[in-house]
């Protein structure tokens, strides 16, 4: 079981990384609007005018 002497510090390192990333996300205002980003995946990045067959808006 002495492996825990290695594994737990590695786990703590990843946890610290996770917290640092979260702080960065808060700092860069990613939590300001939680609604819009959820929908942004629906929109194409590049919109070429192409004939599209589907239309769901009445």
């Amino acid at each position: 079981m002495s492996i825990i002497y290695v594994l737990i510090p590695i786990a703590i390192f990843f946890v610290a990384m996770g917290i640092w990333i979260f702080f960065w996300a808060v700092r860069s205002k990613q939590f300001e609007d939680l609604e819009k980003e959820g929908l942004s995946i629906l929109f194409d990045e590049d919109n070429k005018p192409k004939p599209s067959a589907d239309k769901d808006e009445p």
Partner: protein, 794 residues
């Protein structure tokens, strides 16, 4: 033709196929030139995805008057721009408030369109607050061009200056998020290690492994206690210094005592460790605080867009002619010019000109008030039709508008009284708890068993840890806030939730609250048989489209077909004239239409070739849901009354129609306050429902104030509760919500106090080992939290 809908705004198309556009090979109909132009812009720019993914229909677009477009250029003045933006190196940063946004697709649309400009470095749009943060090179691209680009998409953008307090709210909210993350993530780790230790107890664990896991837990708990738990420690320290015990004192005491005792056990390899309890407790408390704070921050954002009504620009008359300037730089004595449709930038006195102004923002009165030379005008009111020259008497910050804004901001930062009640309980509780803990330690140390003294005292502190007690009220309030918010009720002052069940009297405002607060056509009297009523109304509606006057809006629903009109002229405060099929038509007051015979009560007349055709009576209609709501409230035993500024007989008629218990008409705002204060001095608990700024003094006098959806923004700011939907019957939902919340809080407090009363004697006697105490504490906290969560469901 009747069910043909506009492709852009989904409103019925009344103009046939006059406005159409080829989209994806199909001709789509539009209701007006405005919508057509916007859709054309969207399609041309390859943004047709908007129509595919939007979840709400767009708002109808009125074509922008050229004069407004010219007004946008005022923002390009360097000194105006400097007032509303921040300079960051080469780039200018500015916040915009955007109206007309209905869903996230709108935000995407605007972002996409603006990002095509190379001069714009970044644009982020928040669809929930309807604001945009823009960073661009202001030298290469003037602001007015950006604004007109947004206008071309059918939205109105205006520069917005967030107040200082909102900035601090935002920063604080971010701090809450970070604390939540630290306590949440680390609690998971400590919990995982604790499981290892729990199982070690049963199956045996090597001493060195146990010591290692404890040391790791100790290290991981430290940031939780020091960073995430800092607010509790700070607040406890402050309250001790002020000798005013609050709930944070026992909380911090339990946290630190538990942590230090566990550290002692870790260092000296004895006893038990409770690091996971420390972490869990902090996480749960932070979670509650975070949700409560977020609810308040949202309430704030929802109402602080009102600052955009603060006029930004003004046209100042200088020796060298009219000049655009920043409204904030106006000084008393300056002369300014206000065109029709503009918002007045300062309090002042009319020097020249005549117009009718809309002061509904300040007074709640929706009828336009006519102003002539020598009369006083207020900043924030809207100039309807004439050109006014005004001498400034007060700078913007000291204007009536500025004062009211300051006043209402002071009321927002009040601490909810309900939590104070728990604080009183805490004070009582903490003092006794400390005495008991000291006594327990003394008894065990000197008489019973000195070796166990430390651990028994610890179990007393852990078992009586006011976890459940301190969660009882905030969790219930948070859940109630969230649920009411979903129903469309925004609680801005959690104190209001406490007072709701005690309410006995409900005071209602008439105009805009019980009634719709706008003119609607009540009856039409035909003075000639040459035309039908429908034809006459349609003709009036077509003419009235040229006017922005509130009376004109009453006719909009009656437009059934578009008519060709020539030489239309709008006369200030009188009416509209024009030519229709070579006939001279006039719509307006009796004198404007040159009529000798008038119909009593009628406000609008129609003449064709000087022949009277129709007389229309306008009135303010009662909201459809009001009678049923009032009947059900009366059944529940509430006393209902009406306080109205209206002195006409319509007030009495309405009061008897709705069977109100009492009614006072012709009230000034001061009289409204007096009536409410009298009820309060008789020991009654009063709720006030209103809409205008004229109700806001009454709002302060009443125990609880509720502002309706259509109310003036300033009144929404003063109210404890804002109804977010145009539906007054939400009041019934609010009263019901208040009652359930109160009963859940009672249950929570009952349980946590009862639990502590039972466990204290057992702990003092040494029957409760610390880890049983932890299980008991966690269980009672969980019970309290899940009891509060019930509020979310119903």
């Amino acid at each position: 033709m009747g069910d043909l809908k506009c492709f852009h705004c989904h409103e019925p198309v009344l103009t046939g196929d006059r406005f159409t556009l080829q989209i994806d090979g199909t001709a789509q109909p539009f209701c007006c030139a405005g919508c057509q132009a916007v859709a054309d812009t969207i399609i041309q720019n390859g943004l047709a995805d908007y129509y595919r993914f939007r979840t709400e229909s767009a708002t109808k677009v009125a074509a922008m008057p050229a004069q407004l477009a010219a007004e946008l250029e005022n923002f390009d003045q360097p000194e105006v721009l400097a007032d509303i933006s921040r300079q960051q190196g080469e780039l200018t940063e500015l916040e915009l408030s955007i109206s007309g946004m209905s869903c996230a697709a709108c935000a995407w649309l605007i972002e996409k369109q603006l990002k095509k400009q190379p001069q714009i470095a970044s644009v982020t749009i928040n669809s929930s607050t309807q604001r945009a943060l823009l960073r661009w090179d202001s030298k290469a691209l003037p602001l007015s061009q950006i604004l007109s680009r947004i206008a071309a998409l059918g939205y109105q953008a205006s520069p917005f200056v967030a107040d200082q307090e909102e900035q601090t709210f935002k920063q604080e909210l971010n701090r809450y998020l970070k604390r939540l993350a630290v306590s949440g993530i680390l609690t998971m780790q400590v919990m995982m290690l604790a499981f290892g230790l729990y199982f070690g107890e049963f199956t045996g664990i090597e001493k060195s492994h146990e010591g290692y896991l404890r040391w790791i837990s100790l290290l991981l708990t430290l940031p939780v206690l020091l960073y995430a738990g800092k607010p509790f420690t700070v607040s406890a320290w402050r309250s001790i210094k002020a000798r005013q015990m609050n709930m944070d004192v026992p909380v911090s005491l339990a946290l630190w005592y538990t942590y230090l005792a566990s550290s002692y056990a870790t260092v000296f390899h004895t006893g038990e460790v409770y690091f996971e309890s420390v972490c869990m407790f902090i996480f749960l408390l932070q979670l509650g605080k975070f949700f409560e704070y977020r609810a308040r921050a949202q309430a704030r954002e929802a109402t602080s867009n009102l600052l955009k009504i603060m006029p930004v620009t003004a046209t100042q008359l200088t020796d060298s002619g009219p000049q655009a300037t920043s409204a904030r730089r106006l000084q008393p004595g300056d002369r300014i010019l206000v065109k029709a449709g503009e918002t007045l930038p300062a309090d002042g006195i009319v020097l020249e000109g005549q117009s009718s102004v809309d002061e509904s923002m300040l007074t709640g009165e929706y009828r336009p008030i006519s102003k002539m030379a020598g009369e006083q005008v207020l900043a924030g009111s809207i100039n309807h039709d004439g050109l006014l020259t005004i001498q400034v008497t007060e700078v913007l910050a000291h204007s009536r508008l500025g004062q009211i804004i300051q006043l209402q901001q002071q009321t927002l930062s009040q601490k909810p009284k309900l939590v104070e009640k728990t604080d009183q309980l805490a004070k009582y509780f903490v003092e006794r708890l400390l005495v008991i803990a000291v006594l327990t330690f003394g008894l065990w140390y000197f008489w019973w068993n000195p070796d166990r003294a430390f651990w028994v005292t610890l179990s007393v502190l852990v078992a009586t840890c006011p976890c459940a007690l301190s969660l009882a009220t905030p969790t219930a309030i948070t859940c109630a806030l969230a649920r009411l918010n979903r129903q469309g009720i925004l609680i801005k002052n959690a104190q209001a939730l406490e007072a709701l069940p005690q309410i006995t009297h409900i005071v209602l405002d008439k105009t805009g609250t019980l009634t719709e607060g706008k003119f609607s056509v009540e009856s039409v009297e035909m003075l000639s048989t040459a035309y039908t009523e429908q034809q006459a109304l349609n003709l009036i509606a077509n003419l009235e489209r040229y006017s922005e006057h509130p009376i004109a809006r009453a006719f909009a629903p009656y437009q059934t077909a578009a008519e060709e009109l020539q030489q239309v002229t709008v006369s200030v405060g009188a009416g509209i004239s024009g030519y229709w099929q070579q006939h001279a038509v006039r719509v307006g007051s009796a004198s404007f239409c040159q009529l000798s015979r008038t119909v009593s009560g009628a406000m609008v007349y129609l003449t064709i070739n000087q022949q009277p055709i129709a007389a229309v009576t306008l009135s303010d209609r009662v909201r459809p849901e009001v009678p049923a709501l009032l009947a059900s409230l009366q059944q529940q035993g509430y006393q209902l009354g009406m306080l109205t500024g209206d002195s006409s007989s319509q007030a009495e008629q309405l009061a008897s129609e709705l069977q109100l218990n009492f009614m006072h008409k012709g009230c000034t705002p001061e009289q409204k306050v007096t009536h409410i204060q009298q009820l309060i001095s008789e020991g009654k608990q009063v709720l006030m429902l209103g809409d205008g700024i004229n109700d806001s003094p009454g709002f302060n006098a009443a125990h609880i104030s509720v502002a309706v959806h259509s109310g003036a923004d300033l009144s929404k700011n003063q109210a404890d509760v804002v109804l977010l939907k145009p539906d007054v019957s939400l009041l019934a939902a609010l009263l019901k919500g208040g009652k359930t919340t109160a009963s859940v809080i009672r249950q929570n407090l009952g349980w946590s106090v009862g639990y502590n009363l039972i466990i204290i004697p057992l702990a003092v006697a040494g029957f409760v080992s610390p880890y049983i105490a932890v299980i008991g504490m966690s269980f009672s906290s969980l019970l309290v939290v899940s009891n509060s969560l019930r509020l979310l469901k119903k």
